[in-house]
């Protein structure tokens, strides 16, 4: 019920190719957050989506929230070596007054120059 499923687990792309990771939930999400974790580093917040059908852009990154608020995607156009890392989606932990986030397992982006 609380989990978010993320695919693919790994994605190899050539530098300059596009990349997309998908996040799915069996239940409606109040919001969805995206994080990036560089190799050896800690996760860094990228964005939060709240509205049904919302689309937000950050330079080459495009984030979408599904109309039913059960799925989300992150798309990177023309990948660069600086995009290497693991991208996580996360939902607010809910139920019983709990706090914090439930994370997907992440998509590891590997870029071949």
């Amino acid at each position: 019920g609380q989990q978010v499923m993320q695919i693919p687990q790994y994605q190899h792309v050539q530098e300059g190719e596009d990349f997309t990771t998908y996040c799915n939930s069996s239940t409606t999400l109040s919001n969805i957050q995206w994080y990036k974790q560089r190799p050896g580093g800690h996760p860094v917040f990228l964005i939060q989506l709240v509205k049904s059908g919302e689309v937000k852009k950050q330079k080459r990154l495009t984030f979408q929230f599904g109309e039913a608020k059960k799925n989300s995607s992150l798309h990177i156009t023309a990948t660069q070596t600086t995009d290497v890392g693991t991208y996580f989606c996360a939902r607010m932990y809910s139920g019983g007054g709990a706090d914090g986030l439930t994370f997907g397992k992440g998509t590891h982006l590997i870029i071949q120059p």
């Binding site: 957050q33 994080y35 860094v44 917040f45 996360a90 706090d99 914090g100 439930t102």
Partner: protein, 112 residues
């Protein structure tokens, strides 16, 4: 500043030994604080959260415990480490704008 400090950065401990990881935060008083663990292939798992001094909630039953002796100090402990406790332990605070999590640099724990 909303800087989060964690120490040690890396730690190698034998099975059965105790553990104490410390997290301190700067900036806003009475922050919501969290402990996450990142084990290989399992993503980030919420372990504990705290909304104030002495207030700890556990999300996953295990041999770990947490304490918050001061407003900006959050400690993760264990009396006897297991091999399965190995992982990357991240302290986080709740953001003010988006309820996002700001993570500290983390502690890499290896239990041998």
């Amino acid at each position: 500043s909303q800087t989060i400090h964690q120490w040690p950065a890396t730690l190698v401990q034998p099975v059965g030994s105790p553990l104490s990881l410390e997290c301190t935060v700067e900036g806003t008083s009475n922050p919501n604080l969290y402990w996450y663990r990142q084990a290989a292939g399992r993503g980030l798992q919420l372990l504990f959260y705290s909304v104030g001094i002495g207030q700890i909630s556990s999300e996953v039953p295990q041999n770990l415990s947490a304490s918050r002796p001061q407003d900006r100090q959050f400690i993760l402990s264990s009396k006897k480490l297991l091999l399965s406790d190995s992982g990357f332990y991240l302290c986080a605070r709740r953001g003010l704008a988006w309820d996002e999590q700001f993570f500290g640099p983390g502690t890499r724990l290896t239990v041998l």
